[in-house]
Structures are given as structure tokens and as C-alpha cells.
């Protein structure tokens, strides 16, 4: 993330904003996620514990309360660390509005796609499709052969909810960038 100057969604919205450098990051992100999907079964064989869900122990509302509590504690810790380093931590109003908007939209994404907002799965689908186009001998690997991913690989990219949210983010960022430019141009024109 530090080397690329962005995360999964950061890559997408920067690409939408016109960054050529991020296209390279995105291309390698896609490649890396396909490689990762091939190696995931081996890593899973290293062992692990089953998912630990707060709602399994506390019920849905108890789980929600536990989540909010954990976020509150994390926020307090973050603010304390920021204060100690004399760093700014107060968000601007635009940031808060943006965050609220993202929260609402991710609820909508969850309702539409029946799973939480996912960015990187779309990359794996894109990469696997490109790989199977380029190399006829591409074996999807056990992960991509399982139910959900297998269907995503067989169907159109526009059928996969993660793909769609990724494409939406690129277009949305482009739209936001266009609007920003128009505003800047208007300000410059007024001077």
C-alpha cells in the first residue's frame, strides 16, 4: 500500500482520476491476486481456526454493540497516539460527509449483492479471465473452482457484483474528478 500509494479501492479511484502510474499498480494487483488465489489452498492447509463472529456469541444486537465498542476503542487509541505525536486527527466536514456517504452506499452494495463490499475479488475474476484467454492451459486452481468463484469465472464480468462495484468506483472517481476540474476551471475563470 505504501509503495503503491493506495489500497485496493485507492488504486481504483486514482485510476478513475487519470493516474497512469496507478494503471501499472492495478495491472500488477490483478496479477498478484491471481497468483494468490493459486496459492491460497496451500496456505489454508497450514491450519487455522474457524471464523470468530461476535454475533455467534452475543446475538446480532450484542454483536453490533461489540463491533461499535471495538471501533470506539480503536478510535480512542488512534486519537491518543495522534495527540502524543502532535498530529492532526480532526476530520474536515467534507471527509465526514464522504465517510457517511460511503457507509450508506456500502449498505446498499450489501443489499444488492448479498455480501459485504468486496473490491479485490473482482480483480481475481478479471485476472483469471484474462489468464484463461491468454493461456489455454491456465488451471484456475482449487479456489477458483469452488462454487462462487467458479460461477464468477464462467459468467460475464458484468455479472459479478465485486467486478461491478470496482467498475463503478472507477467511473465514479472519474465523475468526481471531472467535477473537481470544472469547479477549479470556474474558479480560475472568475479571477
Amino acid at each position: 500500500m505504501q509503495l503503491a500509494n493506495g489500497c485496493g479501492s485507492g488504486t481504483l479511484y486514482t485510476v478513475g482520476g487519470g493516474s497512469g502510474r496507478m494503471l501499472i499498480t492495478l495491472a500488477f494487483f490483478i496479477a498478484g491476486s491471481v497468483i494468490g488465489s493459486l496459492q491460497l489452498p496451500a496456505f489454508l492447509r497450514l491450519g487455522g481456526i474457524d471464523p470468530v463472529l461476535a454475533s455467534n456469541y452475543l446475538g446480532p444486537w450484542g454483536g453490533l454493540a461489540a463491533t461499535w465498542l471495538s471501533l470506539g476503542l480503536a478510535a480512542l487509541a488512534g486519537v491518543a497516539i495522534a495527540k502524543r505525536r502532535a498530529a492532526s486527527f480532526a476530520p474536515s466536514r467534507r471527509m465526514v460527509l464522504g465517510a457517511i456517504l460511503i457507509g450508506l452506499l456500502s449498505i446498499a452494495v450489501f443489499a444488492a449483492g448479498h455480501h459485504p463490499w468486496s473490491v479485490t475479488f473482482g480483480f481475481t475474476v478479471w485476472g483469471a479471465k484474462i489468464a484463461s484467454l491468454l493461456g489455454r492451459g491456465f488451471v484456475p486452481g482449487r479456489i477458483l473452482a469452488m462454487g462462487g468463484p467458479k460461477r464468477a469465472l464462467g459468467d460475464s464480468i458484468l455479472s459479478d457484483t465485486s467486478s461491478l462495484t470496482d467498475l463503478g468506483m472507477i467511473l465514479g472517481a472519474h465523475g468526481g474528478d471531472c467535477r473537481q476540474r470544472a469547479v477549479r476551471r470556474a474558479i480560475r475563470g472568475r479571477r
Binding site: A4, G8, F29, L40, G113, H114, W117, V119, T124, D155
Partner: protein, 138 residues
């Protein structure tokens, strides 16, 4: 989008610095892709999605990402991360080709047009298809 790329205020830099920056972008992307698949997602899929679902793995992702970020921030100083000059033509070509490929594969692929359902995840513990550890041991 090509027009956006062309008019973006990118800083001019020496060729060597630009190459390092592009290499850093490539390496960063590769590591993120690999890590995201192994970690069941990136910031949003694993961290935000996990924490919002009340799943422990979200916080585990965060705890693992922090030291990685500390290392990454130190490496950042070696690579000038300001964007290189916009590759207007490359950008335009990539988008035209990608758009054409997207339409072409859509017209030639089945499209069940339904959201994911429990049958897709039968036997899996995660949307990516990974089985539960307790199931795996059998």
C-alpha cells in the same frame, strides 16, 4: 479519462526516479494482490467488511497490516511516489481495449444475472471459496 490524465498536474522528474517510482508501483500492486487473496480481501473486503460483520479476522487483518505499513513507509522514502508524467496515449489505448474486451466477453459469456446465493458458497467458509479449517481437517 485520457483528457483527465493529460491535464492532471503531475510533477516532472528525472528518468531514474520515474523508473523507481514505476517499479515501486508495480511491486506494491503485486504484493497487495497476493496479500489480498491470502488475507480474504484488502482494506475494505477484509478490514471494513470483517469488522462491520463482527468478525475477528477484520481486526487480525488490521493488526497484520500495521507492521507491514511501517516497513512500507520506510521504503517509501527510497522511491519518489509522486506520479510520473501522464501516459496519455497508453491510458487511452488501455481504456478503449479494456472497454471493447469487456463488451466482447459480456456478449460471449452466460450471464445468470442473479446475486450470489447460499448454493454458491456450499462447503465454503468465505466468498472466495475457502473451506472452513474444521471442515478441512476431515
Amino acid at each position: 479519462m485520457a483528457a483527465t490524465a493529460a491535464s492532471a498536474p503531475f510533477a516532472a522528474q528525472s528518468v531514474a526516479a520515474a523508473e523507481i517510482a514505476l517499479a515501486a508501483a508495480a511491486l506494491g500492486g503485486l504484493l497487495m494482490g497476493w496479500g489480498a487473496r491470502l488475507g480474504f480481501g484488502c482494506n475494505i473486503g477484509a478490514f471494513v467488511g470483517g469488522v462491520a460483520s463482527g468478525s475477528l479476522h477484520g481486526w487480525v487483518w488490521f493488526a497484520a497490516a500495521l507492521p507491514g505499513c511501517m516497513i512500507g513507509i520506510k521504503l517509501r522514502r527510497c522511491s519518489d511516489f509522486r506520479a510520473s508524467r501522464p501516459m496519455r496515449t497508453v491510458y487511452a489505448i488501455v481504456f478503449v481495449v479494456a472497454f471493447a474486451a469487456l463488451i466482447a466477453q459480456h456478449l460471449t459469456s452466460p450471464s445468470s444475472g442473479r446475486p450470489v446465493s447460499p448454493e454458491d458458497f456450499a462447503g465454503a467458509c468465505a466468498p472466495c471459496g475457502a473451506p472452513c479449517p474444521s471442515v478441512q481437517k476431515k
